[in-house]
Subunit: 397 residues, 2 copies
């Protein structure tokens, strides 16, 4: 079934909010064998919403809406769907019951297009609904992710059942350019006639995005995985939802290695990405954001003389930080750099970062100049350092 | 001028990537006086892209595309625009020159729809372009944010000039529910006949999103700001791009306060949000991610007896962590909790977090049970703690 995801919210078209719901819905529906082809965002405007829904019905068999089910005056999804599908809004008593002891304005959440099936909300106050419109079906879900996500799982079996005829797969690489990955892989992957190919790059991660058709889809994916492993070696780090931080944390846990981190310019970003992984507390002994020179000296034993001779942003300080934080751990990691936007010089420009990984076998230091905003420099340096840790773990084998 | 932003990339409709470019473009174009009404995402499919562009021309005067200008086989924006606007793709010699010493596949980046104005790319290899189509105008920019963003600034003056007839404004609140904010504010704001009103909630932040029309737009915004300050007091923390972390960092710097942080379950997220603000190194002495009990004892002086009597996730340990990390700083902060998904019990469920802020005047501890995924619990706890710091700073006045 062809699917359009329609996200509503003035905050989206004003650019005040980033739409993370639509990609989530797309991922889940594609995995259920549907074909999400369109994502559209509209403001909280009844006319534009109605036109958007009507247009979605011209090109998609399933329309999934997110947002606009709340109690506030700009929540218009119920009205818009009623209008386009030519239904009345009717009060559902059981839903009114649920709004008891809530602010008066919540009562509007008890009205639904006539004949709609209610999609219960296990977490919040706004129930969703599903309506049929000719041979189309539309489901409306709230915009709050932790309400929408479980409700989507209830919704998927209510959609016209689909036969799964393909498998989506993403293979992920780090430490190579997009052109280099394509040059290596595309001539081989194009030989598979049952594969749609795409490639994309973000913060140093290159994703090859495949849709593999037919009965032997799983077998084809296995063959392509083997191919990528042969061609790209350790640059190939994961699949689908894998992140460099996640893979690194898994490797740390699998190999029972302990790690300690001293972050300066990345400001806690490396620790935060590693701790997104459940159970990493087994490996991550501690992470110190030693922003001040004082803290570098006191907490890590960096020498005053090294700081004054080379400055905080230097290979020498990165080394002493990594060795100092390592202590009795297997791995000690450090970053020191200039995240900007000010503080750069000709010799040490904004974006300059030294990253070090110390193990019992020695210490690796990398010097990089990352581009982009302060936030991008932090993020790229964190990803790069996590990949250094990953490679150090793989090399130990 | 009515604007549609068209983002292309199979990774978007597969849900493998989150589209952060479209909100950025929307924000910049709205600020330049345009009216962004639609954001659409399509895969790298020539037929769908052509249909999408043609549809955008039916409802928008300006179409801004992002993505699909790279060198790889799935980069189809040049072809799709040429097809819809009935132009040939022609080689631009100066652009071919720029691709020298690059992989052979980069040469396709030197082809543009005939008559297009080139939009130079100061950072990467793919130039953008602008074409007129009847009374419409379309600009195509790359998908890499740090290339797209400066190119957008070049593009904006190339678009048909617009008179700015409104001002967009977001007012942001923390520590209140969406219903409570609306109940307080909407009856007052609706009295302004020149104001479009919207409201949205995310991770504990409620944003009131206004578009104020007419000559006295700036005056109206001032009056609404005063009104919000009177009605909501310290819950009102900022405007537009402000974040709780950013406002807290600004307050720390303005009041010359030093801070040290001990994070357990938030895993570096508080430090990372504070260090998104340039110059915060003046205030943030250090942040310690003391994940292990050992590290809590060694680095913070938490007592072994407190850990064994109450467990690491307890009010008592939160207190000792905040006091221990504070040292000679003005403010000491701590978090300890269960981010999940496992490790919870009936007494201490997943999502339980203790947060403490210690100053010379004493210590405040809050106990909360946050909902959502591991990542959401980390994120909500970090925001909540940052807001505690902000309120402690405001109370000191």
């Amino acid at each position: 079934m062809i699917v359009e995801v329609v996200a509503s919210g003035t905050e989206l078209i004003r650019g005040r909010s980033i739409d993370t719901n639509s990609p989530y819905i797309a991922r889940r529906l594609n995995a259920a064998g549907h074909d999400v082809r369109y994502i559209s965002c509209y403001g909280d405007n009844i006319r534009e919403l109605c036109r958007g829904i009507a247009h979605a019905f011209t090109r998609a068999q399933i329309v999934i809406m997110t947002g606009g089910l709340g109690p506030t005056v700009d929540d218009l999804t119920r009205q818009a769907v009623a209008k386009v599908t030519r239904r009345k809004l009717v009060l559902v008593r059981a839903e009114l019951e649920r709004q008891r002891n809530r602010p008066k304005i919540n009562e509007r959440q008890a009205y639904f297009p006539k004949g709609a099936a209610i999609i219960p909300n296990p977490v919040g106050t706004a129930s969703g609904f599903l309506v049929k419109h000719g041979r189309r079906v539309l489901a409306a879900l709230p915009g709050v992710p932790r309400e929408m996500e479980p409700m989507l799982e209830t919704t998927i079996p209510m959609l016209n059942s689909a036969r799964v005829t393909w498998i989506d797969k993403a293979f992920k690489m780090a430490g190579m350019s997009e052109s280099a990955v394509e040059t290596e892989l595309y001539p081989e992957i194009r030989k598979f006639k049952n594969v749609d190919y795409g490639i994309t790059a973000k913060s140093g991660v290159i994703s090859v995005i495949l849709r593999v058709h037919g009965r032997d889809a799983a077998g084809t994916i296995d063959r392509i995985r083997t191919l990528i492993r042969e061609k790209l070696g350790n640059a190939f780090f994961g699949e689908d939802e894998d992140t460099i931080g996640g893979r690194t944390a898994q490797l740390l846990l699998a190999r029972r290695k302990t790690i300690a981190i001293a972050e300066s310019c990345t400001g806690g970003e490396i620790a935060s990405r590693l701790t997104d992984v459940p159970g990493v507390s087994e490996s991550l002994i501690e992470a110190l954001v030693t922003y001040s020179n004082d803290s570098k000296v006191k907490r890590l034993g960096v020498k005053e003389s090294t700081l004054s001779a080379h400055g905080a942003v230097s290979e020498e300080v990165a080394r002493e930080m990594a060795e100092g934080v390592r202590g009795r751990c297997d791995i000690g990691v450090s970053t020191t750099g200039i995240a900007g936007p000010t503080g750069g010089s000709a010799e040490k420009p904004v974006g300059l970062v030294y990253m070090a990984v110390a193990t019992e076998r020695g210490i690796a230091v990398e010097r990089k100049v990352f581009g982009g905003s302060r936030w991008e420099i932090k993020s790229r340096a964190a990803e790069f350092t996590l990949n250094m840790i990953r490679k150090a773990l793989l090399d130990e084998k």
